[in-house]
Symmetry: C2
Subunit: 347 residues, 2 copies
């Protein structure tokens, strides 16, 4: 499966270390495999038998993403277990907004030097994220790219493929004026906004513990990207969701409109949830306007489901323990063709 | 589809340029879409309707890969159209060895700075490779990662998903002693061995034209990674192939054994094909043993199909115009459990 390819002793890469890492990765990867994963096929490609899904009109939903510059925090702290989980969570959430559940995942890890321990830590994190999401890790590339990344640094990307019954695709086209936006809390920055966050916090020590955070700044910035599959799936099974948005780069301002039909907008009330202390710290340190903050960061809400008013009570009963709460309302929007949202109460 | 995410003016990224690039990419991407690609779903995920494949037991075959340090050549020459095609070809070939045809592709492009022209050139190359392989480009991530890559540099990875009828998966388990290895010519280094090649050629000028190459060294190193789908597919349709290997990092020595059953090996005769002049140049410049050359580079054979003797004539009739030729023979191998191949006649 994961192939430590392009590893040549003459060009600064230790092939033995790559082979050792490959074996250690394999153990982690295998824990994600169910009966649909076909093994023993030579390893050029990962095989997944889709004939056993029992769907009438299966539609594959896929997404690819990276971890972004959150990786710089992992490098500084020399902690590499969590970024793989972050990556999987991001991708799972991206296909979840269509109503899809994950089937399989592939990861791409490009390192400045083949550090077996580091590569194994990263891939173990990917495998753990996959296992928790019921997703098979069926392929990967571990590439040593000397001269590309600094020693001890790497980039990490991954692709997910999931499936949804065609008639159950969630498009957001059923969202109506008056529908309620149900917000699901984030755990921190997730994997977005790190370019701006690092800029704002450039003079802060990652080892220091600002009192308002209750943990070190480094720990805070590495807080995991939450996977919303478990919170959302029971709602989808009951047909309670009209549309969803994963709040990534662009914040509520840019992500919520991606699912709203033309002619609609949404008003969010930021006093309805906890704007996490890390966002206040970034805002103060960088002297960043709250308007820009809301265009870059999730501000404490990582996922939004739009729900008809009659369904709100059932949704909160099913997902209240996941932190679900009403945070906004859909309204008509006649400004222009592109749906727009406002976030009020930020200060 | 391709989202220029994580782009903040404050942190060294030009958001307008990202938006312009996004629109230009969209035009290229759309040319790869057939009726199975479902649009207008908000763009968090790419949707592909698999219910219309008409297969009884479809198995998805997937792979993820990068371009590797060949990118450094593209940076030096400031030519960014071809690497995307290289990436797609690599991935198509990787799933082709299982007998799979491509369905869709996703790309990951991480840039040091959001240079719209550069990003558009790269993604156009990806789209062109997809179009030629009949593969839909349904997702992508364009990430600006300032401080990660030097200005003007980037990394590029991609994931492919294809499909094969379960009973037609090519595993190589049908290969027998006496079978003939049919080699398909490469066009150059493809995307493998660049760490070693750049090491060996470190004192050479990419703009110079060594007489034995007949083109500049830079042009030679950027020669495309050949896609073997068109050459191989007619053979698969007629059931003429017992096993296949894509000759990537590791060369014939490491890649051919991946498809051979235990107890078998193969002898290749390098006088049966043209070892391309670029490989002789690298060998001389780097004073590299031919044994190591054969473990790193494709040496002029980018893809191998193992064929029963009775089928050789038909295979050569069907694929002779693609450069197919007999280059080796399968033999029993009792040395140890791992199949091994030899390459003779290299000098």
């Amino acid at each position: 499966m994961t192939q430590p390819a392009r590893a040549y002793a003459d060009a600064g890469v230790n092939l033995d270390a790559a082979d050792r890492a490959k074996l250690q990765m394999r153990d982690a990867i295998r824990t994600t495999h169910g009966p649909q994963v076909l093994g023993g096929m030579g390893g050029f490609g990962g095989l997944f038998a889709i004939g056993e899904l029992g769907l009438r009109e299966p539609v594959l939903v896929s997404s690819i993403d990276g971890v972004g510059t959150k990786l710089k925090i992992a490098f500084t702290l020399n902690r590499h277990e969590s970024v793989g989980k972050d990556l999987v969570a991001h991708c799972v959430n991206d296909i979840l907004v269509c109503g899809a559940r994950p089937l399989f995942f592939l990861d791409y890890l490009a390192l400045g030097a083949m550090d077996g321990d580091q590569a194994v830590a990263v891939v173990r994190g990917v495998a753990e994220g996959c296992r928790e999401a019921g997703c098979a890790l069926i392929g990967g590339e571990t590439a040593a790219m000397p001269g590309f990344y600094a020693p001890g640094e790497y980039d990490l990307a991954g692709a997910i493929v999931g499936v949804v019954e065609r008639e159950r695709i969630i498009t957001g086209q059923g969202i109506r004026a008056g529908d309620i936006a149900i917000g699901f809390p984030s755990l921190g920055l997730h994997t977005n906004g790190f370019a701006l966050a690092r800029h704002a916090l450039a003079n802060d020590d990652l080892a220091a513990t600002p009192p308002e955070l209750g943990r070190s700044l480094g720990d805070e910035l590495l807080q995991p990207h939450r996977c919303y599959l478990g919170a959302i799936w029971p709602l989808l099974e009951q047909g309670l969701v009209a549309g969803m948005a994963h709040i990534t780069g662009g914040g509520l301002i840019d992500n919520a409109p991606r699912v709203l039909p033309d002619g609609l907008g949404a008003d969010f009330d930021a006093t309805a949830w906890d704007v996490l202390p890390i966002f206040r710290l970034i805002q103060q340190r960088g002297a960043i306007s709250w308007d820009e903050m809301a265009r870059v960061f999730n501000l404490g809400i990582g996922f939004v489901a739009f729900v008809h008013p009659a369904d709100v009570e059932r949704v909160l009963a099913l997902a209240g323990s996941e932190g679900a709460r009403a945070i906004g309302v859909v309204r008509t929007w006649n400004g222009d063709k592109t749906p727009r949202v406002r976030v009020e109460g930020l200060a």
